[in-house]
Symmetry: C2
Subunit: 527 residues, 2 copies
């Protein structure tokens, strides 16, 4: 089978390939037939040139056209749903239903439609007007955006359709999508539909481009190129930090979503009150998508004692009873094994699992490890190694003092959960725990596992380094996620007819919220 073409400068055309790759179906081990190119720098260079030209046109493109693109794209994804779900299943091993067909695909089209609404409404850009001195500013497109998507959401975080893609397009930027290596076929189908939707909406054809793979060096060159506006990256910490170093050195914004162990603290009152239910909740959350969510609860922290032992036993029983799901790829399975070994080498002991499973496809036994507070505090960094997949670490602490010491050693995480009892018995301990955990996480939960990430304006899918690169931004949630891909443009004494529509005296839609004289308003500027 010939190499698949890449989507470059408005055409599907052969890559300048330095090599090619095929992937395995993780559920069967069978190599899939499609062969994809590894692009040379020439492809990246051409993509940046085409994106630069598209960015110049997009800057003055009416929001209605961008919204139309997003909507048509969503409709086209729905029209091709069966083929997309089949291929995503073959490439990722994720279940067709409910996961791919009923949860992730609707989430993806929902994001596109929410973004379309935000584009039409316009408030995301925080238009701000000081009419007295004719000074006006608004968030504006930052320039071509590179999107490096992760392996674990072939639709919802796909480089060519997912959260970062949507946010970058909605802010008026062209996207160069670098497909995740583990689902190139899904990326291709999505890019085909995006390309068709661009034509229907009348956007520049180079608004969306797709390459499959580059060398690591070319990835670093892409994120630091003068033509690049910004980068969105979701993936492994090691690869992400190399891109960050390259982008930082060139002064190019890069938004990273890296590893997270999502600590869950179970206070003793909660455990006494509903320990069996908490074990069920925790095991269910830890095994969701076989633990391959960014927000999977990988560390659960309890006070040592009888209740903790009962919890451990109950979780162990549930993990052993649960089916062992297929992992996303053989490299995920290998990395999971390596992480479990790292945790053991640092002092964690295996309760159950800890080995690959002899079954068709890439599988690793549902795994639980344990460690006590003293051991954790002796090697806190190693014992926070993310074991991406169906493995969790149960951490027992001696007392409140050791609990706070452990929390003080946590790295930045996307989420942190605190379970407390309903009668107030945990309140004093909660008051001790909350400030420490709050400082380490983007989203703080009460009495709830972290695996659900609603696409809501109030969501924060972000957090302190090293789970992301900047604690002020979120990768999920509209409008906030859009603002990552924007530059602040101020207009000082600029003539009225030259202003962007959003900054003119008349409110262009009558719906856009603007900060006029310090007050949010949907009205016109009073003349």
């Amino acid at each position: 089978m010939p190499l698949h073409p890449i989507l470059l400068a408005g055409q599907w055309r052969p890559a300048q390939a330095t090599g090619s790759f095929r992937i395995d179906n993780p559920a069967t081990g069978e190599t899939l037939p499609d062969e994809f190119p590894i692009s040379a720098w020439a492809d990246c260079d051409a993509a940046l040139d085409a994106a630069t030209a598209a960015a110049a046109i997009l800057r003055t493109t009416p929001p209605e056209k961008i919204a139309l693109f997003l909507t048509r794209f969503a409709e086209r994804i729905e029209a091709r749903k069966t083929e997309l779900v089949d291929l995503a299943h073959a490439e990722s091993g994720l279940p067709k239903a409910p996961r791919l067909a009923e949860v992730e695909l609707p989430r993806t089209t929902g994001q596109l439609r929410q973004a379309a609404a935000a584009v039409l409404e316009g408030s995301w850009a925080l238009p701000t007007i000081d009419a007295k001195i004719n000074l006006r500013s608004v968030l504006a497109p930052i320039g071509p955006v590179l999107v490096f998507g992760p392996n674990n959401f072939p639709f919802a975080f796909n480089s060519a359709a997912g959260g970062d893609f949507v946010a970058a397009i909605a802010t008026g930027n062209p996207v160069i999508a670098k497909s995740n290596t583990s689902h190139p076929g899904v990326s291709r189908l999505l890019a085909e539909e995006a390309f068709a939707a661009l034509a229907e909406a009348g956007l520049p054809p180079a608004t969306v481009q797709l390459i499959y793979r580059t060398s690591h060096a070319d990835g670093e060159r892409l994120v630091s190129d003068p033509r690049t506006g910004a980068t969105g990256y979701t993936g492994s910490r090691s690869a992400g930090l190399k891109l960050k170093a390259a982008a930082d050195a060139a002064g190019k914004p890069i938004y990273l979503e890296l590893s997270s162990v999502n600590p869950v603290v179970l206070l003793p009152g909660a455990l006494a009150e509903r320990g069996a239910k908490l074990a069920e909740e925790f095991a269910g959350s830890a095994l969701m998508a076989s633990g391959q969510f960014c927000t999977s609860p990988s560390i659960v922290i309890l006070l040592a004692g009888e209740a903790a032992e009962q919890f451990a036993t109950a979780v162990q029983a549930r993990l052993e009873a649960a089916p062992v799901a297929v992992l996303l790829s053989s490299s995920v399975a290998r990395a999971l094994g390596a992480s479990v070994q790292t945790l053991q080498a640092a002092g964690a002991t295996l309760v159950t699992g800890g080995r690959a499973v002899d079954a068709p496809g890439c599988r690793f036994a549902n795994t639980l490890l344990r460690v006590d507070g003293d051991t954790f505090l002796a090697a806190p960094e190693k014992l926070q190694t993310e074991a991406f997949g169906n493995a969790s670490l149960l951490l027992t602490v001696r007392d409140a003092a050791q609990l706070t010491a452990v929390l003080a050693h946590l790295e930045g995480n996307l989420t942190g959960s605190i379970y407390s009892d309903t009668t107030g018995a945990d309140d004093a301990l909660h008051a001790l725990v909350e400030p420490l955990l709050r400082a380490k996480v983007g989203r703080l939960l009460n009495d709830k596992m972290p695996t659900g990430v609603a696409v809501s304006p109030a969501m924060n899918h972000g957090g302190p380094y090293p789970c992301t690169g900047h604690p002020g931004f979120t990768a999920v949630g509209i409008p906030a996620s859009l603002r990552r891909f924007a530059a602040l443009h101020c207009y000082d004494n600029v003539r009225a007819a030259r202003l962007p529509l959003s900054l003119r005296d008349k409110n262009p839609s009558g719906k856009m919220w603007r900060l006029i004289g310090g007050q949010w308003s949907q009205g016109d500027v009073a003349v």
Copy 2:
């Protein structure tokens, strides 16, 4: 005279000094009597510990107390105005009036009061509520903020009272102020008043700390320390980029304001229509504060021809006729001479000035250089060397094509100005110039020089790298400048009594704007 103490952990105490320094009065050359310590790492370390403890208290401090601090601080600055102005004049050589007493000091107290109002009102934090799923988020303090202030605004950008200080405090963070080396005495007086105001407002005494100087290595260690939340830096590009590299490697946000040449494009119609007036405007703006503003117009771009020659002659005459003002320090004068030499070495020719002036104090002749488009395009980077002070470069281009080539080679700048005629003759050229300049600057001006920076919600004092580190943020303007020093905190299913007041169903002030269900509202959450 003994070494001045530093303000550390709520006490004025002797520094762990590795050395000391005194500064010269730039107007007289006389060394001022006060002697200040160069702190060892032990001081920095102690300051970070104290700031961490203060941050924990500030996080739950009512906004009323923070606002009271800001207001009392402003009042105390006003009460000590004469002493402050006298010392700032002695340390900086800036005129007492109007500059220090009538412009910069009122601007400084105005910033404090605007921030106090923003703190009381609370909307700056973009509280966002999704009541249906009990998901809420708000911008929250990021942690201890280091402020490195510049030499050119002893009050308004002072590490212990200026824009970054105010923004960091208003968002609820303690500040470790690293005084600019050229005005340690003013920093001391301001920190004394801040310290007294903290006590009056009941804020933790380590909310404001002051050190005068550290080694460069300790500066890099400070910005990358795990206890640091973020850094605000305004100053030279070379020192700033070293701090940026250190902060980036540690994943710590750093907001930089570095060099900017603030290009001004004079289109031919405007020049024909009002050339003499433009020469007057340009020379006036270029000599404001002896060119020592971040937004000083250091490059003016014109189409070659008779009108450009007349403009050059008129500017030359004005520069030669104008008095030569005192520069901020002998090192500023030296750096200015070096930059002028760099420009000349790269092909610029001297029209007037270009040498130190034999007069009392640090002075450099009002300077104009010229270069043509071909020469500029042969060395665009060197010819954008910032000559901080009273020197400007007049750049003549052959035609529209060369004008666009020059604009495409501009680095990121804080501002860019376009002057065009009033009858439409320049419109075609404007349409060519505007997108190119817009992409390179934070604030785009029409028919106006860039030197005025209003403290307005609509201001952007920022722009693309390398004039700052991120094009989405502004260092001036409330509320936007506050958001630099914040982390996004999300609360998922958190019990009502544990939520920050700003996220509870009831609007705490009845005035705070919150995004509830996607609509901005000053009301309560409808239950």
